[in-house]
């Protein structure tokens, strides 16, 4: 589902965020991405989302090489990726319901269908009772969960999460992780950037570790993809 081939990302002459990263994630796989602050985790996720373009190497998502993707095709790629952002990225001029409904609205889902799906997603993160509130009125953890609901609402085949439990208490963190695990069981590829080593160890999944932009564990050799894309 995701494949990085010798990917390097250089922001400017001084800052190299990723150095020749190679890895491959299968459909339905759940993997963690860890590393110190500034190691390049968010950068890696941004490359998958085509929010940044690699300086060298190829990023392949769902069989499509993103490097050569024309600008007008980008929205259609993004519709197949659910993302939880490190700083939520909620809109404060609309209700929680409308925030979660955005990916469906963009795709032109019918209102009836959309209402059902949004409520299902909010229920999964335990916020069904707050659907009519403004995100500004929510606590930090509640906002983070709204972001998670938005990422999963349209059941995307690929799910990226950047520090999804940074503002959650340990019990809720475990719940959310279980939610992600459920998704991966039905064939969704999940990649989670996280610092919560305790939780990661508990889950016992594949872990990609970045250090100063180098992938030091969990990667694959250049041509040794596991296949099955």
């Amino acid at each position: 589902m995701i494949e990085f081939r010798q990917v390097t990302k250089r922001y400017d002459s001084e800052h190299t965020a990723l150095r020749q990263v190679n890895f491959h994630l299968d459909r339905g796989e759940l993997a963690f991405l860890t590393g110190h602050s500034g190691a390049g985790k968010s950068t890696l996720l941004k490359l998958v989302m085509v929010m940044e373009r690699p300086s060298a190497g190829e990023v392949v998502v769902g069989g499509q090489v993103l490097n050569s993707l024309p600008r007008r095709q980008i929205p259609y790629i993004r519709r197949h990726i659910g993302v939880v952002f490190q700083n939520h990225q909620l809109l404060f001029d609309r209700t929680v319901f409308d925030n979660v409904a955005m990916p469906l609205e963009v795709m032109g889902a019918s209102p009836r269908d959309s209402g059902r799906r949004v409520r299902a997603a909010l229920d999964k993160v335990g916020l069904l009772s707050k659907e009519k509130m403004n995100p500004l009125q929510l606590s930090g953890g509640e906002q983070q969960r709204v972001g998670i609901a938005r990422a999963v609402v349209n059941k995307p085949p690929l799910l990226l999460a950047d520090e999804p439990t940074g503002n959650l208490d340990p019990k809720l963190s475990a719940d959310i992780m279980n939610l992600f695990a459920q998704f991966s069981q039905v064939g969704v590829t999940v990649l989670i950037a996280s610092h919560d080593l305790a939780l990661i160890n508990e889950m016992g999944r594949r872990t990609l570790t970045l250090d100063q932009g180098n992938l030091i564990t969990g990667g694959t050799s250049l041509h040794g993809g596991v296949g099955g894309r």
Partner: protein, 337 residues
Amino acid sequence: MAADPSSKRRKPDPARGAKVSRSPWREQAESYFTHHRKVARDSAGRMWRTPVASLMTWTVMGVALALPVALLLLLTSLQGVSAGWESSARVTAYMKLSASLEQTRALADEIESDGRVAELELVDRDRALAEFRASSGLDDALDYLEENPLPHTLLITPKESARSADGVAALVTFIEGMDGVEQVQVDLGWLQRLNAMTDLLARAVWALAILLAAAVVLVIGNTVRLSIESRRDEILVAKLVGGTDGFVRRPFLYTGAWFGLGGGVVAWVLLQLSLWWLSGPVTRLAELYRSDFSLSSLSVDGALALIIAAMLLGWLGAWVAVKRHLDDIEPGEIAGG
């Protein structure tokens, strides 16, 4: 913020539920139009929720729209007047003193039948003297005259088609060549002055119209630009969840059109108010000059055209602003993502 259109949406609609067989294409099209309606309503609602600010923008646009239209109306009104002025480009034919009244009458009939003459008035010498006496204030002096020194006179108004400088000159030559005509006078200066005046007015109107048309586009472009800036996050998130450029653009285009609508209505109100306010002194002035000048007002069609044009201008301004600024907002710049 409190408005929650979603509650309606989530209520399952039994009538719709029945049409299960509907093709996905129809469903797509329907949800497209549903979205258009929703965006139109939302952007109108957004304006409604900040009434003072919206009114400010409308007023600025209204002023900018009203001024060129007012100038246009003024120009139309003046064209009516200048038509009146042109008719004062009269040709006066003085008969020889020896010409009798009958002779003059025959000549008058002949001239009147010419295609270039709109109107003809015969002033016989007695009436000419009486009028001169009255207008000159030389009552006593004229009593010393033994004989009426004035000839019969023909006052000739050329048809509109013959009112150009050349046309009038030809008419003068034609009348001068007739029997019994002593001299023909015409005040060609009027025509020349009129041309100079029209030229000046047209220039002034053009200068103002260009400035103000620019102002309309600028006002809307600026407003939309700033509203894009203040809705940066929304654009970013819409792009991140896979919104196409058209999707992201839509609310701004509707916003522009609504601003245009409001501006058009305000412009119309301003025009009507100004007309009403100015009509008093204008009528008085026109009476003094015995002119039939009156300010043209806006017809219903004109008002509709004004408002529709304003909406189009608003839409255009929004489109330009969106085109210029939307591409600048790329998700790469997301905070700490």
